[in-house]
Symmetry: C2
Subunit: 215 residues, 2 copies
């Protein structure tokens, strides 16, 4: 019984995701679904992206949070058009929440739309929102056993950003172990090692994003 | 419709949690539900607890993970009786999963039972499992904005362990801001600052646990 409820919810979600997809295609818009556990650095990454690319490309961000508008305010300060979804308890964004928030964005005026999902390494990976691809962040502070413990997100993501690598000298964390485990789950995944603090790897990551933009 | 499904699930969960509670009471057992986001240090904390207290007190642990038995093997190595629940995708433990796992533990022989929940700062806080109290960990690497963004877990927890404080010199994180925000959400919450790496705060935390044990 429980399974069929979940299945129906996911089917309904996929239908709405397809409609979102159609809308994104009509606007020739590249849409990225950014996911991670809490505090891996999603918002800081978007701030860096805004500072570097917002003069050159028109970027929109949909911020998903259970509560508060802290993140939308942070990214908007860098020149990004930001919309906040407060999920009021829900642990992930779904296609319907995205559809509702699209009224507040002029898609035709954007080159790139990034959805910052709720900080959660589990549930967001189950819900398509009509995105072109999923990108996940794993902070090295979370430990090198995470791909084996949370495989779905690694499986669903086209890019893995390994963040906060400036902290490695102070941690017991083996980055090669993370990479090998991620590649064993998803051999096609593209991996960048980054630090928003030192700037390491951001140039390569921003170049990857620029290459995906369709306009 | 969705709301009523969720409500029914939570009601059913509470009924089973009450049955678990009865069983724990019959065995005069203190039960602690340990929650955090991924990689905040739950398992390492249990390893430290096992090394320090497993000679003196009989400790059982139920490990919740989406996949893998890594954690149960780690804590079992310290002299704790460990049982692994693989949730197979589910993002939290519920009362029924706990009930099923109790067949593998001799409750009458235990002084303390700790349930290590799935690494997720959102969903586990919604599900009672029949525990005496919830204890949460927030790592300083996750940032000082987390209480305001994930209030439910802070509201539901009797204890907040602020972990990895040895990394503070390398981070932009204000521990006082975390404490003030946590106390504004839950004025009765007890807070310990800890580091499993240096040992800071572990003695105070272990003393708190010992005081709760009923046998």
């Amino acid at each position: 019984m429980k399974v069929s409820v979940v299945k129906n919810i996911l089917d309904a979600n996929d239908r709405i995701a397809a409609e979102n997809r159609q809308l994104f295609d009509q606007n020739n818009l590249f849409v990225l679904n950014l996911m991670s556990g809490p505090g891996a650095g999603k918002t800081t990454l978007l701030e860096q992206l805004g500072k570097t690319l917002a003069q050159e490309k028109r970027i929109g961000v949909i911020e998903g949070d259970i509560q508060s508008t802290i993140d939308a305010e942070r990214v908007a300060a860098t020149g990004i058009s930001a919309v906040q979804i407060e999920t009021d308890g829900a642990c992930h964004l779904d296609a319907n929440m995205i559809r509702s928030s699209l009224n507040d964005l002029d898609l035709s005026s954007l080159d790139l739309l990034i959805v910052e999902n709720v900080g959660n390494l589990v549930c967001p990976a189950e819900f398509n929102i009509g995105e072109d691809c999923k990108v996940m962040i794993l902070s090295v502070t979370e430990g090198d056993d995470k791909p084996l413990k949370y495989p779905l997100m690694f499986k669903e993501s086209r890019v893995l950003l390994i963040s906060k690598v400036d902290l490695l000298p102070h941690l017991r964390c083996d980055v090669e172990k993370i990479k090998n485990a991620a590649l064993s789950i998803n051999p096609g995944i593209t991996i960048f090692e980054i630090s928003s603090y030192t700037g390491q790897g951001l140039k390569e990551w921003h170049q990857w994003v620029l290459k995906q933009i369709k306009k």
